[in-house]
Amino acid sequence: MEVLNEIRFTMPALSVNESAARAVVSSFLIQADPTVEELSDIRTAVSEAVTNAVVHGYRRSRGNIEMTVKLLPGREVYIRIKDRGCGIEDVDKAMQPLFTTAPEEERSGLGFSVMESFMDRLSVKSAVGKGTTVVMRRRLGGDEG
């Protein structure tokens, strides 16, 4: 995979870092001059993935979340969000709209639906006891410059 630019950011899985992750991805992508709507979509998808790691991945443990953002040729944005938490037993079930294991926290179960809707591609790989990796891609409009 040819990479034009890349940033890696590691943060403790604390809810206060959800906004930090959004700020990092916004700052990095400014160089690609995305539209307001594109940046809003990507920020929202990142927020959902990081929140999933905080709420579900590290529900009973502490650890870090690793975020990698790459700018690829053809104005494509690649984002990987990885945790080494408890993992997801059934990824297909977890990705169903409105499915949540945290109703007491008023989680709507729409995190993966938002990621799917706001990004072009989404893949989720998970292993129980090892963690979850979410990869999302979104092609930006406009010229390559």
């Binding site: 809810s15 206060v16 959800e18 906004s19 959004r22 307001v36 709507e37 809003s40 920020r43 929202t44 927020s47 959902e48 929140t51 905080v54 709420v55 926290e105 008023e106 989680r107 709507s108 729409l110 995190g111 639906s113 938002v114 809707s117």
Partner: protein
């Protein structure tokens, strides 16, 4: 994040400002629930015009307050979401649960 609740002409309006995510929604939920349980308004409007970011945590927040208000005999409305936040609300089918103006 700021929550400003005022009762005007018998209608309660909660003006929210800042960002709504999993982290901030806990404090907003606490403040709104305290008001709903204490004042038991017949109508509560959540004004989102000054919300600059909202993810699906905001959906859980709105659904939960709508449920609590119904249990208290009241009704929830959502007012003036920015176009991008309206998309998040639409994706969740919120227009079937609360009135969005």
């Amino acid at each position: 994040m700021k929550v400003d609740i005022k009762c005007e002409n018998g209608r309660a309006v909660a003006k929210l400002s800042g960002e709504i995510d999993h982290h901030t929604s806990k404090e907003i939920r606490t403040q709104l629930d305290r008001y709903i349980i204490t004042a038991q308004p017949s109508e509560l409007t959540i004004d989102l015009r000054n919300i600059t970011f909202m993810d699906s945590s905001g959906i859980g927040l709105i659904m939960g307050r709508s449920k609590l208000l119904r249990e208290c005999g009241g009704r929830l409305e959502v007012h003036s979401p920015q176009p991008y936040i309206r998309r998040v609300l639409r994706l969740a089918g919120m227009e079937r649960i609360v009135r969005i103006t």
